[in-house]
């Protein structure tokens, strides 16, 4: 920025409209991602966006950044209407969104990474001296010369340094609106502190700042105003000093699914899956158990380590230590085929990449986990295969013209059902469902809820990972909450509230560092 900090004290609001979002809506197939959102972000203020996974924060950022075009509504900046076909046009207008994983060119140093695309030139060659003078001036001004050596190569940068490079790119091109998407998720406390200093300074220089985070405490420290989204709608915009953590959690939650959920089951005492002291690259000493006939919900924010936990138990990801028991018998699982042989099934989160062979038929996909059992002397008994696959395809009401249909040609909900049919045919003792309802329509969701209920009723143990809190609360007999590679809490499903779960899921790292906060983190004090 060209203006010295002292000329723009942030306490005096500048009478300029800044970024105005008016009536923005955006729909994707099967979901209304944003619904008539209107909001202002003024120069010299920090507005935080808060919401559960899938509340619409990312969609809104992508519209601001020009990645998506809104179906309805307008954006204006300082009174001028904006309509971006792509992120480059947004950059030119002075809008920058800093994502968690900025694009850094690995084989190029910090200085050239910052000026990528606009390197100063002299006679066809890069003017290295001018480049270094400029970069040094920028880094000195914000006090980053020590943290971000400009000769460092792109692939040597830490996550924090990568974000700094991206922010420096924005500053250099005279940014007027700066949005940060979960910037602190991979930063240390010290780096967070430094980032906050930078963000405050940019605000004081008159930049309009949007700050997206799950960490309520951070937001209350940093933001001037807080905007809360839920199911694509803007629920509230309040000045940060007027809000408490409890207020925020209460505003974020509140969807009701009781109409589509039902629960009738008899949890037994038999433990079908027990994991003890699992430690891995992603986890610290995680222990949990699943009973026969029980649905055990795993709640937590994206990145808390739930999917990784499932994969470690299933043998897809390596573990450093810890044991897994099936039916109270210690089993050794080194690869997924071991887990399947022990009676564990895993329906992955990303069904297209990890669940299905898209170019093969419904039949082949449905029978994939039971090929051995269907074969005699390695010859597949085709009649048996058709009967088995057909039975589950019909039971799950997979809408497909025939068993020979290529799975890739089915809709998302039906694809998910094919994955489930595969595991039902395998008749496991424990079934791990990782986000089984992500990206599928409401009708198919209800069918899958029914199915989970049915399965538990028949004595299967279900490990149910979901980022959709209402469905976790509605279906689970017991809930583990994960946060940052640990289990931060456990509670019975009936009686659990979104507030309690969210408080545990968001117990942020500030509280982890401080044992006194740790004990205060659980939700006792929160209204429910």
């Amino acid at each position: 920025m060209s203006l010295p900090a002292s000329t723009q004290p942030h306490a005096v609001p500048v009478p300029s409209p800044g970024l105005e979002i008016r009536g923005v809506s955006k729909a994707f197939p099967n979901v209304q991602a944003l619904n008539d959102v209107s909001l202002d972000v003024q120069p010299g203020e920090i507005v935080a966006f808060l919401g559960e996974n899938g509340a619409g924060k990312s969609t809104l950022l992508k519209i601001i950044n020009g990645d998506y075009q809104p179906d309805a509504g307008t954006l204006t900046l300082n009174g001028q209407a904006l309509r971006f076909a792509n992120p480059l046009e947004a950059h030119r207008a002075g809008i920058r969104v800093i994502y968690q994983e900025p694009e850094i060119i690995p084989g190029v140093d910090v200085a050239e990474n910052i000026y990528v695309g606009e390197l100063p030139r002299r006679g066809g060659f890069v003017d290295r001296r001018l480049l270094e003078t400029r970069v040094r001036a920028d880094l000195d001004r914000y006090g980053f010369s020590a943290v971000l050596p400009m000769g460092l190569m792109g692939d040597m940068l830490s996550p924090a340094q990568r974000q700094l490079v991206e922010i420096m790119r924005a500053i250099k091109s005279n940014v007027r609106v700066l949005a940060l998407d979960e910037p602190t998720s991979s930063l240390t406390d010290d780096e967070v502190h430094r980032l906050f200093t930078l963000v405050r300074r940019l605000r004081d220089e008159g930049v309009a700042i949007i700050y997206v985070s799950h960490r309520i405490r951070e937001i209350l420290q940093l933001a001037d105003r807080v905007a809360i989204l839920r199911d694509g709608s803007l629920i509230a915009v309040r000045p940060a000093p007027d809000l408490t953590e409890a207020d925020i959690v209460r505003l974020m939650v509140g969807r009701d699914l009781s109409a589509v959920l039902q629960r009738r089951r008899a949890v037994t005492d038999r433990v079908v899956l027990r994991a003890e002291h699992i430690t891995s690259n992603w986890h610290h000493d995680v222990s949990f158990l699943v009973h026969a006939g029980e649905v055990v919900g795993f709640a937590g924010l994206v990145g808390a380590g739930r999917t990784e936990l499932a994969k470690v138990v299933f043998g897809e990801l390596p573990r450093d230590s810890g044991s897994v028991f099936v039916d109270e018998r210690l089993v050794s699982i080194h690869r997924p085929s071991d887990a399947v042989a022990e009676g564990i099934g895993y329906a992955p989160e990303d069904r297209k990449r990890e669940g299905l062979i898209l170019m093969r038929s419904v039949l082949e996909n449905a029978s994939l986990a039971v090929l051995r059992r269907l074969s005699r002397f390695h010859f597949i008994q085709r009649g048996l295969e058709r009967r088995l696959a057909g039975e589950y395809v019909e039971r799950l009401r997979v809408r497909t013209p025939s068993l020979e249909q290529e799975v890739g040609k089915l809709s998302g909900g039906n694809q998910q059902k094919v994955v489930l049919a595969r595991w039902l045919a395998a008749k496991p003792k424990v079934l791990i469902l990782d986000e089984p309802t992500r990206g599928i329509d409401v009708g198919a969701k209800a069918e899958i809820y029914h199915l989970i209920d049915d399965l538990a009723n028949q004595g299967l143990g279900v490990m149910f990972i979901s980022s959709d809190l209402p469905e976790i609360l509605g279906l689970s007999d017991r809930i583990y909450v994960m946060q940052n590679g640990r289990i931060s809490g456990e509670m019975p499903g009936p009686g659990a509230t979104e507030e309690k779960v969210l408080a545990l899921a968001m117990a942020d790292h500030l509280s982890r560092a401080d044992p006194e906060h740790q004990s205060a983190a659980p939700a006792e004090g929160l209204p429910g």
Binding site: P29, N30, F314, E316, R335, P336, S337, A339, V340, A341, Y346, P348, R353, E354, G355, L356, I357, L358, M359, R360, E364, S367, L368, A369, L371, R372, L374, S375, H378, F379, I380, R382, G390, V393, E394, P401, S402, L403, E404, Q405, G408, K409, S411, G412, R422, A426, D441
Partner: protein
């Protein structure tokens, strides 16, 4: 599931049935099992083959002679066919085996050495196949356990195996087997010959047997299913509980066996176990598999398609020989055929991809 399947829809279900429709239905009921065997995706290959034959037959009367069909053509495509069936397995699994020509070289030398030492054709055959199994185990282990990219792994063994073929040959010289009629019978013998019939070449019968084994393995066994799954989406296959290391090892062993057998046949046909045998044939085999409709990314392809492609390539070369076209033109034609064939397949895949996204966006 209800019994009505998409394939049955075109059959007239309700009276009145006109005589024309029943005749059509009868033709359809004869054709359907044939189409099912060949595979709908291979129909374009059949059409190409038919056009090719029609063009050649219109130009020369020699093509349809027994001598040409069974000897020149039948014997010439057999070695390539056996190699290509083995290669199909690996390519459908999304990998590649560049070393098959070199394996054939080792197997030929090994078989020739054993045959000249013992005088026993079965022992020679066995030696060649064993050499193929060992080579396949080496390839498979490198890919499955050392996790080396298949192209790199077999590019390495492509060179190494050729070196080994020279090392085991005495002073690097070819081992002549002209004095072993039992053994050369594998390459140029015939059965069922008579005054009016030249007989069916043994080598062609072996190709047919190998093709049947390959087809059955791929289509009817859990191993074959695992190969399609591995090629279609390795992560999904692994997460469905398939032991991928075992599949990778198995497919390279199969490819090694086929290459070993091809090496034996080549030595028997040329009456010489030369360490140079099979040079360049890996590329012809790979060409045939891709022309036969296998996807470069894996997950698609059939033995029937590969055999059809081997026929197309063999007939192309045979026909051009009969017509006196220079060898260089044959190479140009083979290259163009592969590129055109794959380009057409890509175009069709793109079209079906578009159809798929249309369905997806409709929800």
């Amino acid at each position: 599931m209800s019994e009505a399947r998409a394939g049955d829809v075109d059959l007239p279900a309700t009276p009145p049935i006109s005589p024309r429709r029943t005749a059509l239905a009868r033709v359809a009921s004869i054709l359907r099992p044939m189409v099912r065997f060949i595979g709908a995706e291979n129909l374009s290959l059949v059409i190409v083959l038919a056009i090719e034959i029609a063009v050649i037959v219109s130009q020369t009367k020699f093509f349809l002679g027994q001598q040409n069909l069974l000897n020149s053509l039948g014997q010439n495509i057999a070695v390539l066919g056996v190699l290509a069936v083995g290669e199909s397995m690996v390519i459908i699994a999304g990998a590649l085996d560049i070393s098959v020509g070199s394996i054939a070289g080792i197997a030929g030398v090994a078989a020739a050495l054993v045959v000249t030492g013992t005088g026993s054709m079965p022992l020679g055959l066995l030696a060649g196949i064993l050499a193929g199994i060992c080579a396949g185990l080496v390839n498979g282990s490198i890919v499955a356990f050392l996790r080396v990219n298949p192209i790199i792994a077999t590019l390495g063994t492509f060179a190494a195996f050729r070196g080994i073929a020279f090392l085991i040959a005495p002073n690097g010289y070819p081992v002549g087997v002209g004095t072993q009629p039992d053994f050369t019978w594998l390459g140029s013998g015939r059965i069922l010959g008579s005054a009016s019939f030249v007989g069916i070449p043994i080598i062609l019968i072996i190709l047919i047997l190998v093709a049947i084994v390959g087809h059955v393995l791929l289509r009817y066994t859990d191993f074959g299913r695992s190969i399609y799954a591995l090629g279609g989406n390795a992560t999904a296959a692994r997460l469905a509980g398939i032991n991928l290391s075992r599949v990778r090892l198995g497919m390279y062993v199969f490819s090694g066996i086929a290459a070993g057998l091809a090496g034996v046949l080549l030595a028997a046909r040329t009456t010489s176990g030369s360490p140079l045998n099979g040079q360049g044939m890996e590329l012809q085999a790979i060409t045939a598999v891709f022309l036969g409709g296998a996807a470069t990314t894996g997950g698609k392809g059939t033995v029937v398609g590969t055999i059809l492609a081997v026929l197309i390539l063999g007939i192309l070369s045979n026909g051009m020989n009969l017509l006196g076209v220079q060898q260089y033109w044959q190479d140009v034609a083979t290259g163009m055929l592969l590129v055109t064939g794959v380009a057409v397949a890509q175009f069709r895949a793109l079209r079906s991809e578009r159809a798929r996204t249309r369905i997806a966006s409709r929800g």
